[in-house]
Symmetry: C3
């Protein structure tokens, strides 16, 4: 399986909170971070999700926000991963920014050119990657 999403995380389901339409799935990564995915209740059943199951979590790079100087701030995004910028590649309108997380994983964000300048993003800068639970898509491989 090959997928266009630039962010692919392998992990294990640790908790599922179900509602009538939506569900929230907590996934722990081998590097220790926890991701939260909001998917439909129907998908919990069609994928057979349960604590302990191995899953892949996918997040498109344009859905990732980068934030700096966060002291004193809290954010609604259920996924908040701290790291340092490892690479910045600029295009005409957008730029692709790689962030290396504390545990060694990498996360990719596509943000505007203007944001790269405003945040002064450059290799080595500490940054937090934010993405909403609703931005996470899950995949399961049949046993």
């Amino acid at each position: 399986m090959k997928i266009s999403a630039r962010n692919v995380f392998e992990g294990q389901v640790v908790a599922i909170k179900e509602g009538p339409v939506s569900a929230e799935v907590d996934i722990v990564l081998p590097t220790g971070e926890t991701l939260v995915a909001a998917i439909t209740e129907g998908s919990v059943h069609s994928l057979g999700l349960r604590p302990g199951l191995s899953v892949m979590a996918f997040v498109k790079a344009p859905l990732v926000l980068l934030v700096t100087d966060t002291a004193g701030w809290r954010f609604s995004a259920r996924n908040q991963l701290a790291g340092t910028v490892s690479q910045v590649q600029r295009g005409a309108v957008n730029a692709s920014v790689q962030v290396r997380l504390a545990g060694g994983a990498e996360i990719s964000a596509i943000i505007t050119h203007g944001a790269v300048d405003e945040l002064a993003l450059a290799p080595g800068l500490p940054v937090t990657a934010l993405f909403k639970a609703g931005s996470v898509l899950l995949g399961v491989k049949d046993a």
Copy 2:
């Protein structure tokens, strides 16, 4: 009405599953595919959605993922449309990829340059387009 979303599907509501905050709307297309939209419960009422109603479904191209070699895999995305790549247009950071679905409709995905290479996307390649129910926006024309 003209909209910036590259993916515009005309269809008919076939089912609505309502929760306290979120709702899930199933829409069947003339080409036979079913789309699922997750919208707020408030929008179900403000749009007067009901089975049988004609609606337009809009999906921004950056919210579409492409996946190949899916044998043995299942995904949480409620929208999974199989087709073949019909066109690839590359930019500096992103590329726009057109996929022709089995029923004849086209779907557009914006993915990174790197993903085009990794998936070896080229006209004729079989591919599945995935997008979350939450990525679908609905429009209704007054009678």
Copy 3:
């Protein structure tokens, strides 16, 4: 705090509608517009959201749709802001479009090149910016 999202709105919480998993938060801006954010129920509590609290709302530009000639149409997006195009900046695949809202605020959308042409977007054109409640991320500064 500096954030990569091109759309940053300061406002005040006016209402919160809670469900078992999801919650909907209404935020009024100083310029009079109301924004709606869909976040997880868990985030309502971790941020301590309550009516009257000052919050920042963030929306990534690729999640904003632009629509023209909307007479007779209704949309499911909980956020629908009318304005006029103030600037169009084209890249290879995408373009960045600035819209000045009635109250004076600006909103930024990243859309495809093709959409700019199809909607004939140019400074002065009336346009409505649409984005889903699920596309809004909230931030709160500790008192």
